[in-house]
Symmetry: D3
């Protein structure tokens, strides 16, 4: 029902457990692309686990502790953005993103991230937005940089994936550093 | 973040537990008006109970068993619509509404109801939408009639409010009776 | 331990989860007969699901939100009656019944229903008893009529069974319409 | 609805949470009499705690782990009997009793205990019924003796009441020692 | 991290769910030896059930309702001791033990039991420690006797194992009967 | 029962919910000292909240997700150490500490931290230990430095205390950087 146009052919919409089959088909297209940087694909390997991933976010939203949004381009789910953590009492939250190959290179992820930042800072009064990315995940890092975020530090070998450990970067944007809502909003 | 314009000055948006204070102020304005027809006001008498009312719907949404939406006019919450019940497996749901005096007479409720019907029938493939109203609640009954619903029956003295029992009407609209989405959608 | 004689050879007794095997054997005899009007048989296809059906009612009874009773004839479980819903605070409840072929035509169901009505109205002070039956289920409808119930309405295509939708009738009896306890009580 | 006549003027019936007010009034009459031998009265001091005591047994019954029954004499609740523990898988259960002064001296408790024993041994196939009483509680001990139970042992100072410790006796009756159902059954 | 030396080559340590594989290997060595006296081995037949057994005690410890400790000899888990029940409010607890053949005959179990008794009586102020053993389990009975416990009674045929019923002995030690901490403590 | 000597007069022991009164008395002595750097004192203001703080860690331990240990000096609880987080599957954990004034300046905290590091790296095979401290909390920072930890980054204004935001430092030690167990172990 709700939808936010990102471009003429793409929009940001709620992504919920009843969309499990659509989500799984998308994750299957995204799998080799998102690995090894995020466990997203690892968690959603069949209809039941795909649904569980979405239910986890549905429950987070009910508790105001996180949210997830899908991006549809020409009617196909090609990625999304989420509040991985959302702590209104302390004013801190964390934004994350993912995409299949068809969802990259169009600025859709960056546009969606700006909507979440606007929501967090302006509508909810959050103070600090975090961004965590595996140090080798240059695409993710680039989104944080384009959003004007600041690198707070690198957690040495904090992430474990398939037996290999990776450094994890933490970026942040504070409310007074926020440049404002997307132009189209 | 999400919003659907109903008129130039009104829009339909998610209504969530963190908006408890805004919801309570609205219910206080609506109280004498909605009583005795719906228990809405009875359930929300202070911040804690107002929040509990919204949390109940947040939990329903997480379980895909119900949803609630607020209507803001000139920036003020003046009423709303909800899926009181939502059973995707069986194809049945129930829509309900409420408003404070400032929210009536502008067609906002009816417009919002059409969005929910469109969502239920078109986006979710529901078969039957129900509407329950106390037989004496002529405003609510009028909304059902304007939406083209059919009176299925009257449950004799089914409702109890402040020690007085009221007849309860059940209206329905079936998917093949649905005239389609709102023009502005 | 408890038992209420319905006739010389039949009695009404509690029906509990530990009687799962006896219940399943009965449902197997009742299956083709109760389908397609009630989902009872659909829910109880093996020992585990039969037990779950009875446990659901055991939990309802613990919460005073429903109850189930079996009817034994010549020592064999041949059907039963239940409070599908029981809302003491609002004074409303719903009675339902089921039987295998051997349990019909002896007036056992109607006799048992009268005991539940007496319990609801007299012992518990309920105001309104409901009865829901699929419009095509003439046997169920006949029980409601014999009990002196009034048809409040017909929910159009409200029920879904094996892909086919059925109208659902709602009957009611109010406390002042109740003719009193069974003669034998 | 269910009732088992114990004498012309007394009967055994289910005792449930909705009877909290009646139960509390009875416990108030029983209080000084049952103390210090059983914690029954200690647990039920107002409507909420009285209801919680009954709810505990309602939940036990739903789990087939215990049951409670009230005894009414001339329409007044004057005591009762319960399965404190009920372990069908292992064939063991424990019976307990309590009464207000007006409930003693009429053989009502002993008659009710026999119904529970009949239920346990015959209807449920239990092997061993236990009885625990504080060593100084001669009335309770006498009920166990009249029921033909055997003293298995005395747990030294096992019970604590108001800072004083008491010996606790354990009596038992095995299925092959059971003399059969009450004559009136 | 924590460890209490029992002898030069043996020590008492926490036994936790993450040690499931080590525990299962030990139970496999103990299985024929502990049967038929305790259900310990029956409950732990694979990694999942072994872990569940340990988790049950981890949860008991979190609730201060029981505890479990392993005994390692030359680095191998060969048995252990536990507070089967622990009721600080009433001052009662129950101690149990188990061992594989390699864990017997060295006094390790008896030494460990003394540490638990010291903990219960001195550190926690318990009043009564119980010991339950199947009447035919002479090894277990001997530990209770060596610990100076008193036989309170024998529950006739209380225990059920593989279809055979066994008498169950209850031993006890009261705080004023306690001879004090182990010499090495 | 378990205890690890840190010095001649101090030892590290489990700290559990039943020690709530002792813990609260200690926190009352530590309150002005630990504020504003850690919320420890803020969470434990009376017996119920002190117990809840310890219960939170008891539950974490049962889930192998965290642990807490107290330090007693001359028989008085003067501080402690904890695994704030413990994720065995990913090999990451976080250590935290607190003390009342009498607990500082004796090296007790640093000694206890080394025991936890030894436990994490050696006994549990963890890969990375984290340490979070408010940037202005120089005492805490010094413990991390003395333990040979490395500063991974500073989360700008991440912490909120009494309306003031503080930078938060994250330090880490990796398994191959660990110098080994405390000499006294």
């Amino acid at each position: 029902m709700y939808a936010i146009p990102l471009t003429e052919s793409a929009e940001l919409r709620p992504l919920e457990p009843w969309q499990d089959a659509e989500f799984l088909a998308h994750i299957d297209r995204a799998r080799s692309h998102t690995d090894p940087w995020i466990p997203w694909a690892t968690w959603s390997t069949d209809l039941e686990s795909a649904r569980a991933t979405l239910q986890k976010y549905a429950d987070k939203q009910a508790a105001d502790a996180g949210r997830i949004y899908g991006i549809w381009r020409d009617g196909t789910l090609i990625g999304g953005v989420m509040f991985v953590q959302f702590d209104a009492a302390r004013g801190n939250c964390e934004i994350g993103v993912w995409a299949e190959p068809a969802g990259e290179g169009h600025g859709l992820i960056s546009a969606a991230v700006r909507y979440l930042m606007e929501y967090a800072f302006t509508e909810r009064g959050m103070y600090r937005i975090e961004w965590w990315n595996s140090a080798g995940n240059t695409r993710s890092r680039a989104v944080a940089q384009r959003a004007g975020m600041h690198l707070d530090g690198t957690l040495r070998e904090q992430s474990l994936y398939n037996g290999v450990r990776h450094d994890m970067e933490i970026w942040s944007l504070l409310t007074h550093e926020w440049q404002g809502a997307p132009k189209s909003a």
